[in-house]
Amino acid sequence: MRTFFLPLLLVASLTTQASMEPADNMPSDAEVKAHTSALEVAGAFSNDGFKSRDGHIFGKIARKEPKFIQVNLYSGNQYWFIAAASSPAKRIVVTIYDEKGKPIPSEPYESNTQAAAGFSPQTSGPYIVRVEELEGDPAAFCLLYSYK
C-alpha cells in the first residue's frame, strides 16, 4: 500500500519543500534526486510503522560546512531523521543534539549518500539535526523525518 502511494507522495511533496537558502520555488534536478533518495530510506522505515512527514527541506552541503536544522519533537514518539545528498557528494552523516547542543545517543544509519539517525526523545521540545558531508564535493541535500 505504502509503495503504491510513494510515487504520488513524491510528486505532491516535491512541490512542498522548504529551502535553507534563497532559491526558486521549483527544486533543481539534484534536489529532486536527493529527495527521491531520502524517500527511499523513509519507505523502508514505513514498513515498521513509521509515518513520513510530507514536509522536507533542501539545501547545499559541503565538507566542513555542516547544516543544522531545528525540529520540535514529542517525548515517547520514535523518530528517524533521514538525509540524502546528490552526486558529487559521496558520504554524509546525520547527528542529533538537544536544544543546548549536547549530542544525543541515536541509532545511526549510513550508506554513502544516504544517512539517518533514529531516537526516541525523553523530553518534548526542540532538538537539532546536523547533516554533514564527510566525503565528496559540494552537493544538494534533502532532509525529512518519519515518526511513530
Binding site: 502511494f5 514536509g55 522536507h56 525540529v71 520540535n72 552523516v93 543534539y97 547542543g101 518534548s124 532532509l143
Partner: protein, 271 residues
C-alpha cells in the same frame, strides 16, 4: 525494534554505522541552526501519537461544533484551514469516517475561498475516498499533503506570508485538543508532552516579519498580542511536569485563540 530495521538495512544495502561520539555544538554552530516551517513545526498527528502512548484518549470527545466556512479575511481562512486539518487528524484518530468526510468538506470549502489550485480539491476528494475505505494511516499522510498543497498554492499566489498561518492554526488547534484531554485526565507524564517553547517562538518571529498591511488585520494583531501568553505556558523546564492547573491554563489560552480564529466577527472587523 530498531535492531530489526538495522538488520533490514544491513541485509539490503550493506550499510555502515558510525561509532564515534560527536562533540557538543559550539556557540557559532548553535547560532547557525535553521528554523524551517516544513520540518520545525510538527504535524498535529505527532502530538496525538505521543499522547496515545501514555493514555487512551477518547478522541470523539474532542470534536468541536462546525465552524463557519465563509470568512473574508485571507489570514483567517488560512488559520481555519490549519485548524480543520487538526480536526481531520482527530477524526482519523477516532477512526470516524463520517467526521473525516465532514471535515474534508469544510477544508475544501475554505480552500476554495482562497482560490487554491485544483490539486487541493483533488486532495480533498482523496480524503473522502480513503475515509470510505477506512485507510487511517494513509489519511494522516493525505491530511498533511493537503495542508502542504494549500501552502504551495498560497506561495504560487505570492501569498507566502499566509503559509505560516496554516501551520499556526493546525498547531494551536492540536494544542487545544491535547491540553484539553490532559487537563481532564491529568497525569504528570502526559502533561510533559506540552513542552514546546520553540514552536511558539518561531510563530511569533514569522508573524512579526509580516508586512504592516498583513499585521493590521485585527485577527493577526490579536494573535501577535496573545501568543506570548501561550509561549509562556508551554515553556516550562525539561525536568518539570506542569501541574494540572498549568495544563488547564494551556487549554484555556489555546482555546481562546482558537475561538477567536473561528469566530466570523473577526472577518467582518477586518474588512
Amino acid at each position: 525494534m530498531f535492531f530489526r530495521i538495522f538488520l533490514t538495512f544491513i541485509l539490503s544495502s550493506g550499510a555502515a554505522f558510525a561509532t564515534s561520539t560527536p562533540a557538543p555544538l559550539t556557540g557559532k554552530e548553535l547560532a547557525a541552526v535553521a528554523k524551517v516551517e516544513a520540518v520545525s513545526i510538527p504535524a498535529p498527528a505527532e502530538a496525538m501519537a505521543a499522547l496515545s502512548k501514555v493514555a487512551k484518549p477518547n478522541w470523539q470527545s474532542r470534536y468541536r461544533a462546525p465552524i463557519p466556512t465563509t470568512f473574508s479575511s485571507r489570514a483567517q481562512i488560512a488559520l481555519n484551514i490549519g485548524g480543520l486539518i487538526a480536526d481531520g487528524y482527530i477524526a482519523v484518530e477516532a477512526e470516524d469516517a463520517q467526521q473525516v468526510k465532514n471535515t474534508g468538506k469544510d477544508i475544501i470549502a475554505l480552500a476554495k475561498c482562497l482560490a487554491v489550485s485544483e490539486s487541493v480539491i483533488a486532495r480533498g476528494n482523496s480524503i473522502f475516498e480513503f475515509a470510505e475505505r477506512n485507510e487511517w494511516n494513509t489519511l494522516k499522510e493525505e491530511l498533511e499533503a493537503t495542508q502542504n498543497e494549500v501552502k504551495l498554492s498560497l506561495e504560487q499566489q505570492h501569498d507566502s506570508g499566509l503559509v505560516y498561518f496554516v501551520s499556526i492554526g493546525a498547531w494551536i488547534r492540536g494544542t487545544e485538543v491535547i491540553s484539553g484531554w490532559i487537563a481532564d485526565n491529568y497525569t504528570p507524564a502526559s502533561a510533559k508532552l506540552l513542552r514546546q517553547p520553540e514552536i511558539v517562538a518561531l510563530m511569533q518571529t514569522k508573524l512579526n516579519e509580516l508586512p504592516a498591511k498583513a499585521k493590521a488585520d485585527p485577527l493577526v494583531s490579536d494573535l501577535i498580542a496573545r501568543l506570548p501568553e501561550l509561549q509562556n505556558a508551554v515553556s516550562f523546564s525539561s525536568d518539570k511536569s506542569p501541574t494540572q492547573n498549568e495544563v488547564k491554563s494551556v487549554k484555556e489560552i489555546s482555546g481562546k485563540l482558537m475561538a477567536n480564529i473561528s469566530t466570523k466577527q473577526n472577518a467582518k472587523e477586518a474588512k
